[in-house]
Symmetry: C2
Subunit: 140 residues, 2 copies
DNA sequence: TCTCATTGTAAATAATGGTATTACAATGAG
DNA sequence: CTCATTGTAATACCATTATTTACAATGAGA
């Protein structure tokens, strides 16, 4: 069980937009060739990032730009842009209400697992695009 | 995107075994009626918990028992018993090696996301079965 | 205004994985 | 030996992800 590759793809898109800003026009086809994935998936993902206010996309002429500085974009925003806001775990819908365990399981696990997810999001909030870009520069 | 209900089901199974120990024989059918799920899923999950050393199952005669005290069983063990040990996110396999972003994306995200997963596991390690059982008692 | 590369989006398809269910041999206490 | 139960394989169904084709809408530049 693992998350889909939407978030990693979104991160790669944003890094490419930042890195090639002013050098290449970052069209969906251009971005697709970095990720090695179908351009339609890039366009859909860009749509989600646009809806989240992280990028501007030039319809018609093509290309995308960040709306903020890389230091102000965190993986938390990216994650929330491309993943649904739902519980980390699926808890069985209809446990037996006559069983003391069954009738309490949602309450028991719900809050504790929500907390785990919040921790995960705050971990993501500590990772910025700028940090990743720096890391790339260093390795060149 | 969310984890399957395997972990919540496993937790419910373990709680029932602990709670009804000595009172009812905790067969797969009995446990299935608490979770309201097919008994085969219970048997498969019990098999995973047994492989992880958390329970003993009496083949033939039926019923399951914990091998440790509830205070010594954490959700981390349960999670690892029923979920595969894999990365939290799926990163695209063949990014473009000619792109500075593409050829670094695995290195960039790999270690950072592993850390996030480790944090998640250590959150799970802080939740014990005993704590959940206490919580049930209080609400009775 | 026309052109044309590009975006936005729908639709069809394939692949994957989780969940549900049936079936039955193996188990082991009584 | 009996019988309820476990262990496990096989199958089917469904939801979601990922892939791909197709095409109307966009909008800068000629």
């Amino acid at each position: 069980m693992q998350f889909s590759f939407r978030m990693p793809v979104a991160v790669q898109i944003l890094l490419c937009i930042a890195k090639f800003d002013g050098v290449f026009k970052t069209t969906s086809t251009f971005l697709a060739s970095s990720v090695n994935i179908n351009p339609v998936i890039i366009r859909n993902t860009l749509g989600q990032l646009k809806a989240a206010g992280l990028v501007k996309v030039a319809a018609g002429v093509g290309g995308a730009k960040l709306t903020k500085e890389p230091k102000d974009i965190t993986l938390k925003e990216v994650f929330q842009a491309v993943e649904e806001d739902e519980d980390l775990f699926h808890i069985q819908d209809n446990p037996n209400p006559q069983c003391p365990v069954g009738r309490n399981i949602h309450r028991l696990l719900g809050s504790r697992l929500s907390l785990v997810k919040e921790h995960m999001l705050s971990d993501f909030a500590d990772i910025t695009l700028a940090e990743l870009l720096d890391d790339i520069e260093k390795s060149e």
